[in-house]
């Protein structure tokens, strides 16, 4: 089967020629560079908040898992 498909591919590629080239549109492409790099800060901020969230979630999970209750009056029952 593979040889038939290869023949089909060759027949297609042999006749259908793609003459397009990036250089044809290169001059018209506007490279979207942001001069003020705000993204780095926002990414850092996002990373820190995710880390905090995971820590808090982990703490809650541990408390539930160990069945420990923290009382407001310093832990005395």
């Amino acid at each position: 089967m593979r040889e038939y498909l290869t023949k089909f591919k060759n027949d297609f590629n042999g006749a259908f020629i793609n003459t397009l080239n990036y250089n044809q549109i290169k001059d018209k492409v506007v490279i979207p560079v942001i001069r003020k790099n705000v993204k780095t800060f926002s990414l850092k901020y996002r990373f820190v908040s995710m880390l905090l969230f995971i820590l808090i979630l982990g703490g809650v999970f541990l408390m539930v898992a160990t069945n420990r209750v923290i009382y407001r009056d310093g832990g005395e029952i």
């Binding site: 089909f8 591919k9 027949d11 590629n13 259908f16 003459t19 990414l43």
Partner: protein, 176 residues
Amino acid sequence: MEENHLLQLALLTNDEEKIEHAFELIYNKYSGLLLYISLSIVQRREVAEDITNDTFLKFFNNIRKIDYKRNIKYWLTKTVRNASLDYLRLKDSQVELNDEVVLSIPSEKGVDYHDVISKFKKFLTEEEIEIVVLHLIYKSTFKEIAEEKKVSVNVISGKYRRSLDKIKKHYREVWR
């Protein structure tokens, strides 16, 4: 999806060279596919080339505004198909007495597509040719083709299998 990741990284680094490299990679990867889709609709190579390049320009020059997160290929193929259909609609709405004359002039580079199609039409239907070309040559998945054609994946895979049988039968006879 590899180019999607590369493009997003390039945009994050904000490096002009990296962004341009990603653009070039995307262009080289999909220009053939888009040209094929457009050509199969508008039937004229010069027009199809213009539509394909316009689609890429639209994508590149609005990269930070448009939502392509789902799939670059999906966005590009959908846009080029719509642009080609729009061209046809616009052309149909205009009364062009000279149109037949224009269409009858053979294009310098335009004979290749019709050569391919007429050759394959001897043993496949137009739809079968499209499915086989999209899947075999341009690596579109059955799911992507099914979404475009608004049918189920099973229908596409069934048609693909039947097309393969026809291809096999055809070349077996040719080689005999």
